[in-house]
């Protein structure tokens, strides 16, 4: 796979430069399900580049925040501004990799072909994309028989096939072995270095240290803190983040 990483150019098209959807501004975001408030008063800004790790205990609203940012859900109140665009108008320029990859009941190659065709991309990029994630040798195999790590790499290749300007990842390495985790991180890190804005939900503190430029820490549906990674890990500002990093139970 490392060889493939060096020959990435044909696989991934250059970044679009026009009508930017970055930076991101989120203001007073609220999400309710009936009487239950799951996100409340969430406001933050994200710069145009880098990797933001979204952290926090289970149920703090991380995955829901990602879906709101990606335009898959509508907030109950508040604003999400991708440049001058509302979230629902920026979805096509973003990609989301889910915790449990949703792969089509087709071959590995056909999973990539489907996205390239549906999004009007160059069909000739398929092999390069598979090379990029180290799955070219699995191209004719049924996608749903891949191992967990391979399936997630295929999901990542499919996301990159859309040439996203923003890449969301919702705990993509949960339940993967260390080698698979590092493989995913290498692909994500390369995308970030190439200019893709990465927003990554994780529970893995080590992973956050390896990838993060900044950390958005949520607790009980609120932003506990949003800090540069260089400051967050040695000296988190919030008690919730300190407890979390120290391994104390946070709910």
């Amino acid at each position: 796979m490392s060889d493939a990483l060096t020959s990435l150019a044909p696989a991934v098209a250059p970044r679009a430069q026009s009508a930017a959807i970055l930076p991101l501004a989120v203001r007073d975001l609220e999400l309710r399900f009936g009487e239950s408030v799951v996100l409340n008063g969430v406001s933050f800004d994200l710069s145009a580049t880098g990797c933001t790790m979204v952290m926090g205990p289970n149920g703090s609203g991380k995955s829901l925040l990602l879906k709101l940012l990606h335009g898959l859900m509508q907030p109950s109140a508040g604003q999400i501004c991708w440049g001058d665009h509302a979230a629902s108008h920026a979805t096509a320029r973003q990609a989301l990799v889910f915790q449990k990859p949703v792969l089509l009941r087709r071959s590995v190659a056909a999973n990539i072909d489907f996205v390239l065709k549906a999004r009007g991309k160059d069909a000739g990029r398929r092999d390069a994309l598979l090379d990029h994630v180290g799955l070219r040798h699995k191209a004719p195999q049924p996608a749903r028989l891949l191992s967990g790590g391979e399936a997630q790499r295929l999901a990542l290749a499919r996301a990159l096939a859309t040439d996203p300007e923003v890449l969301f990842l919702d705990e993509p390495t949960a339940s993967l072995d260390p080698a698979s985790v590092l493989a995913i991180e290498a692909i994500v890190g390369e995308a970030r270095d190439r200019g893709v804005r990465v927003i990554f939900v994780t529970h893995d503190t080590g992973q956050a240290r390896r990838l993060a430029d900044d950390v958005l820490f949520l607790q009980r549906g609120r932003i506990a803190e949003h800090t540069r990674a260089a400051d967050f890990f040695p000296a988190p500002q919030s008690q919730a983040a300190r407890d979390y990093l120290d391994g104390r139970i946070v709910v």
Binding site: L104, V115, A118, R119, R144, T162
Partner: protein, 232 residues
């Protein structure tokens, strides 16, 4: 009974031309009706599976209710339309295989639509978020669902074919059971039984059962192969 059974087997294996003609017409009518019903029913099922609109529950109830359409009622409705004094009488289709195909298509299209709707809705619940993330159009979504559910939809098509090839009420009304023209297995069985010619009736019954078993076995084999590939 034993004599009739023996004669029936003799008819099946002797290559009786009359028997062959009836079997081939049955297959032609029911397979054509199944293909037409799939062309109508699958897109309808897919659209209802992914669409959310006011009154959708009413549509679902009607679709499910239409699965139980009595063949004689369908036959009667088609007869009224195709008879000389009916609105489509000028086409001269009554008592032709085409009329039988029309009746069977009307009979099984709701079955294909309702069953495929359930299959595709289940698949869509798995794919929906990923597809919205990929910004697929409704058409792209429907195409992808139909393709990915293709092996499950084979079973749906089989259910439609089974209903078509086994029904007698609709084809006897619009086809008329005319020898060498519109006589199919089920109408022939009904006629020969009433005439007391149990051998031919039994021979046709055996063939009908073998066809049902053969088609089911073929579809099951395809589905098992697909399951091994994790395509189901």
């Amino acid at each position: 009974m034993a004599d009739a059974f023996g004669l029936a087997l003799q008819l099946v294996f002797s290559g009786d031309p009359n028997l062959h003609e009836i079997v081939l017409l049955s297959l032609r009518v029911s397979l054509t009706a199944t293909v037409l019903a799939c062309l109508i029913g699958l897109p309808v099922g897919a659209l209802v599976a992914i669409a959310r609109f006011p009154g959708r529950n009413v549509v679902l109830i009607v679709m499910n209710a239409l699965m139980g359409l009595p063949p004689v009622v369908v036959g009667l409705l088609v007869y009224l339309h195709l008879s000389r004094s009916g609105p489509l009488g000028f086409l001269g289709l009554l008592y032709t295989p085409t009329a039988m195909i029309i009746a069977q298509t009307i009979l099984i299209a709701p079955i294909v639509a309702a069953l495929s709707r359930q299959v595709l809705e289940d698949l869509h619940s798995e794919y929906a978020e990923q597809f919205r993330s990929l910004c697929l159009t409704k058409l792209q979504t429907v195409q992808a669902l139909l393709w990915d559910a293709r092996y499950s939809l084979l079973t749906v098509g089989l259910a439609g074919f089974g209903r078509a090839v086994a029904e007698v009420g609709a084809v006897i009304i619009v086809g008329g059971n005319i020898d060498h023209l519109t006589r199919v297995m089920t109408t022939a069985i009904a006629l020969e039984t009433s005439k007391g010619d149990l051998a031919l009736a039994l021979a046709l019954g055996i063939i009908l059962l073998v066809i049902a078993l053969g088609v089911n076995a073929a579809v099951q084999s395809v589905r098992m192969t697909a399951a091994r590939q994790a395509y189901v």
